[in-house]
């Protein structure tokens, strides 16, 4: 599964990356996590409030750190 975190490098974006990493590890799901920091690319996803989360090319979240339960449900749905 391919997971992208969209964000220009603010604290919330880093926390989101960490959260997804730790949840994936806890669930034993292997993911390819990528941080997207270039603005034009972030804008291409139509995301206006960062951090945003893209899973397999689809935007599933924007604006703020997702909750742990949200991350778990994304990883479960895709695995």
């Amino acid at each position: 599964m391919e997971v992208k975190v969209l964000g220009t490098g603010c604290a919330n974006c880093k926390n989101t990356v960490q959260l997804i990493e730790s949840v994936a590890k806890a669930m034993g799901v292997s993911i390819r996590l990528e941080k997207v920091e270039s603005l034009p690319e972030i804008m291409r996803y139509g995301v206006m409030s960062t951090p945003g989360v893209v899973i397999d090319g689809k935007v599933v979240h924007a604006g703020g750190i997702p909750t742990r339960a949200q991350v778990e449900s994304w990883l479960k749905a895709a695995s």
Binding site: T8, L19, S22, M43, M48, S49, A62
Partner: protein
């Protein structure tokens, strides 16, 4: 919400319907009981410590014991309500509401939506481009960008707590006015050509994001709690430090000094100087307002101090550096200039009305 609450411990399960049904009235009752007994509490603290309000130290302690819980209680209440309200106004929704609106009504709407739409200055650039690419006029976008940080719930909660509802309302109305008028001016000047080139060429993707309509009340109330944890969890140390400094000033700084520097006897240029001083300072409303209150009780003029505060919050150097990515220099200068003029006007107005 901090990183640690996410990564170390699993989040507690969100309350059920019944939990909210019992929890909210109980919390409201406890809140009200605490809020209505603040004076007794502060008196009790001073008496228990064996102090007298006649002394510098006693007065400072009383100030702190009264103001700190009062401001924190107000913050908790207002931030929770705003957290719930914000679930109705995702940026995507606000953009849709503003898209294609004319100057005038659009600026008015944008300034109002700026209060309730969740906004973080680190998202200022994507938001800016997102608005423009969806056909929101430049001037209307600026009204939003000015109002969103300046008229925020933390500033309003603190002003309400420390100065009463009249000053909070005056701040709300004049803050909105500045956002509306500055956006109108920028719109009339037709400054679209001062956007950075890459911004004009950008192709904004259409994201199929879940809209706010699918949220249940459980989700919205839980979002309110998260908002409290995130905002109050972040600002409470500043509030306490600010009130502590305020208490010190309250107890110890001689009144004549403040009156001369910032009060009625201050020279006319004290106000522009205060605004200029505010630009490079970057703090949240929480840290600065308690200091502002203490300055005012010691005779500094309200308009001058409020203008200083608006300038600290609305004209921050870091935000301008971020915006530099999308705006060319003339547009940034115009933005800063127009907002600074608005703040100056409000400052003189407050000073004039309240003396």
């Amino acid at each position: 919400m901090t990183a640690s609450s996410n990564t170390t411990a699993p989040n507690p399960a969100p309350p059920t319907h019944l939990g909210w049904f019992v929890g909210i009235p109980t919390a409201a009752l406890v809140w009200w009981l605490a809020y209505s007994h603040l004076t007794e509490w502060a008196d009790w603290v001073v008496a228990t410590l064996g102090l007298s309000r006649e002394t510098h130290l006693g007065e400072a302690v009383h100030f702190f014991a009264y103001d700190a819980p009062k401001v924190l209680l107000l913050l908790l209440g207002i931030v929770f309500v705003m957290g719930v309200a914000q679930t109705f106004f995702a940026p995507e929704r606000t953009r849709a509401l503003l898209s294609g609106k004319r100057l005038g009504i659009g600026n008015f709407l944008a300034a109002l939506l700026g209060i309730v739409t969740p906004f973080c200055s680190c998202s200022a650039v994507p938001l800016f481009i997102g608005f423009l690419s969806a056909g929101v006029p430049l001037g209307v976008t600026f009204s939003f960008l000015i109002s969103a940080p300046m008229v925020n719930e933390v500033a309003l909660a603190l002003l309400f707590g420390l100065f009463g509802w009249k000053v909070a309302a005056l701040y709300l109305v004049t803050g909105l006015m500045i956002a509306i008028v500055a956006g109108l001016v920028i719109g009339k000047l037709k400054m679209e050509r001062f956007l950075q080139d890459w911004v004009r060429e950008i192709h904004m993707g259409q994201a199929a994001l879940p809209t706010g309509n699918t949220l249940t009340w459980n989700d919205r109330l839980a979002a309110g709690l998260r908002h409290v944890r995130e905002i109050v969890g972040k600002v409470w140390p500043y509030v306490l430090i600010g009130i502590g400094v305020g208490a010190g000033i309250h107890g110890y700084v001689p009144e004549e000094l403040m009156v001369k520097l910032l009060g009625k006897e201050a020279p006319w240029w004290a106000l522009p100087a205060a605004v200029a001083l505010g630009v490079p300072m970057y703090t949240n409303a929480a840290g600065i307002i308690p200091v502002v209150e203490a300055l005012i009780t010691k005779g500094a003029a309200l308009g001058t101090t409020l203008a200083f505060m608006m300038s600290v919050i609305a004209l921050s150097l870091p935000e301008m550096l971020i915006l530099r990515n999308v705006l060319k220099l003339p547009l940034i200068a115009t933005f800063a200039g127009v907002v600074a003029m608005g703040i100056l006007f409000v400052g003189y107005l407050f000073n004039f009305l309240l003396t």
